[in-house]
Symmetry: C2
Subunit: 360 residues, 2 copies
């Protein structure tokens, strides 16, 4: 099973070349790179063996070789040259990230956009907040019929709602409810907000106009929204620039799958450790629609128990190395900016861990 050093070199050359050209790679082309000191005939023999081992395949007898998913897997796991960005390049990229992030919001959809621009592939972004609660309520009295509910969440997010009631409420009720909600609705997760709690609060506040219910509903809605995982997809159209999606039907299928979003990432399992980049190649994806695409995902830590994923989807033929590096840096940059601040920026490319389901 252990491939000879030369076989590995040849496999790597095939993958590198195929990534660049999207055309089956010939023995001659490899020989001409000059990195192996042998002729095309020798390489042909090796190539035949690599086909037998399942790392390469031939579209037809008289064509060059193309990597199989297994070939890509091996490449990603062992062969690919980690992008050793020079200090300048690394700084350059970091600077760009800073620029971009300064201009853009760090809203999750913008992060996706950034990833898509950076890689030129469709990108997905999502965050998962582990059990956010309300930390504090404020009720702003605008007029007798109108209030603003303000909730400060445990992740420092602030949500509000403008409420206009058909009947008027007096200030004392608002005051009472404010106290009661801060006493019993803070620090509890969504599932703890029972109808019993709500009606108890309503009675305690002597609320006859239903304001309690409105606030409680807002609370539930806000928490469930914040805690739910939604994926944002951007740049689907970039798929069309890839030669493997010149067939409109294929492109359409994948694009509409992506547009309905969110089903891509769950496959990568629960949110992963930060600074780990996961690669799923072709059939390693669970979803039928992704069986001949690859997914690269990086996770970041947005602090306060919130983790996020960013990733891209493309054909199996993609520059795994470059993209994994870029996503890794992006994720690290985000962790640094948003998270507890423990993630170091300099030289982070050395720490890049690339994982995946290895089937060998």
């Amino acid at each position: 099973m252990a491939l000879s050093e030369r076989k590995k070199k040849i496999l790597a050359a095939v993958v590198d070349e195929y990534i660049k050209t999207a055309e089956p790679v010939s023995s001659k082309a490899i020989a001409e790179t000059g990195s192996l000191g042998c002729s095309s005939a020798t390489i042909r023999n090796e190539l035949a063996e690599l086909v037998a081992l399942g790392y390469l395949e031939q579209p037809h007898t008289s064509a060059g070789r193309v990597p199989t998913p297994a070939g890509y897997r091996l490449y990603v796991n062992e062969l690919m040259q980690r992008q050793k960005l020079s200090v300048e390049e690394s700084e350059e990229l970091n600077r760009k990230l800073n620029e971009r992030l300064a201009v853009m919001d760090t809203a999750i959809s913008d992060i996706g956009k950034l990833a898509s621009q950076l890689t030129n592939y469709p990108a997905l972004a999502l965050t998962s907040n582990a059990s956010v609660t309300v930390r504090r309520f404020d009720l702003i009295y605008v007029d007798a019929n109108t209030f603003i509910i303000v909730a400060l969440l445990s992740n420092n997010d602030v949500k509000n709602k403008y409420v206009h009631l058909p009947v008027s409420a007096d200030r004392s009720l608002v005051q009472k409810l404010s106290t009661l909600f801060n006493a019993s609705f803070t620090g509890i997760t969504e599932d703890k907000i029972t109808s019993a709690l709500i009606s108890a609060t309503e009675r305690a506040a002597d609320d006859t106009i239903g304001l309690t219910a409105v606030i409680a509903a807002f609370c539930i809605e806000t928490l469930s929204e914040v805690n739910s995982v939604t994926a944002y997809v951007t740049g689907e159209n970039r798929l069309l620039s890839q030669p493997e999606f010149r067939d409109p039907d294929k492109a359409h299928k994948l694009m509409s799958y992506l547009s309905n979003g969110g089903y891509v990432f769950p496959e990568t399992g629960a949110m992963q450790d930060v600074e780990e980049v996961r690669v799923l190649i072709g059939p390693e994806n669970v979803a039928e629609e992704l069986k001949d695409s690859s997914v690269i995902v990086a996770s970041y830590d947005a602090g306060d128990n919130t983790k996020g994923l960013i990733g891209i989807v493309g054909p199996t033929r993609m520059d795994y190395s470059a993209i994994a590096t870029k996503l890794g840096m992006l994720a690290a940059g985000l962790s640094k900016r948003l998270g507890g601040g423990e993630a170091p920026p300099e030289g982070m490319h050395n720490k890049l861990i690339i994982k995946g389901d290895d089937r060998s």
Copy 2:
């Protein structure tokens, strides 16, 4: 210039048929519909004249006829059968709208999604708020270093910002600033917020820690964000199901144009009267990228000086009638729901006005 009744019928038949099949329409096909009591030879003569007049064209000598943009224009302006939805159908559609709108947020991006689903074309949605101002400020004191700024806008939107300062501020400063901002920053548009005003406020509040600047910046940012026109594009991938976009390059060009959004609608001029549906056919569009696509736009009134546009983009061959009707109903439904409430829902399809740059 005035076309004979029969020519009009024939033109309409060609457009109707071409919309359905996407194939050049033959004289025989028209004769066989039976709606005209004449033979294919007669129709051939008429078709030749319609070509001479510029309403139709032939891909090549021995092919059927295809409508030109001028032909579509005439069709849209005079010939097309307005969708006379039966009462049941109308109610059905209204019911669906209600359902959908109940589930979805009325957030502008969701409205676009709805339009796209309804028509199966890429949709754009945007709103323009005419000069929103802040109506009221509240500063919520969380702790000495932490505040929440809450701004109630003139369109009843509420915006907030969580502020964490490196230095602490005492309650009296917060109190003073609250009063000052409510006195001099409310009811004014973004451009009235000058640095002179800000520094005057800073001095009046005796603010040495820069809190004034933070609040003012939030104010400017919020207003400019709310007042700016942003377009949301959804369903770009639906383009790929249209036969005219089987060429990936063409599709890609248009899709990336759309993804960069926002440039489509301004062409239709300023926001239009509500309940007017505008149709722009092929070269009538200003943008080069849209020269062989058509755009249909409807506007709605979201109340409080806020108007919105929803529209779709597709090939020039599209079912103008059905789509204009649907978008019109959607816009009317939104006006009713969001706006002053003056827009009636029943029988509204009779009021549908279809406009465009008539070049005849």
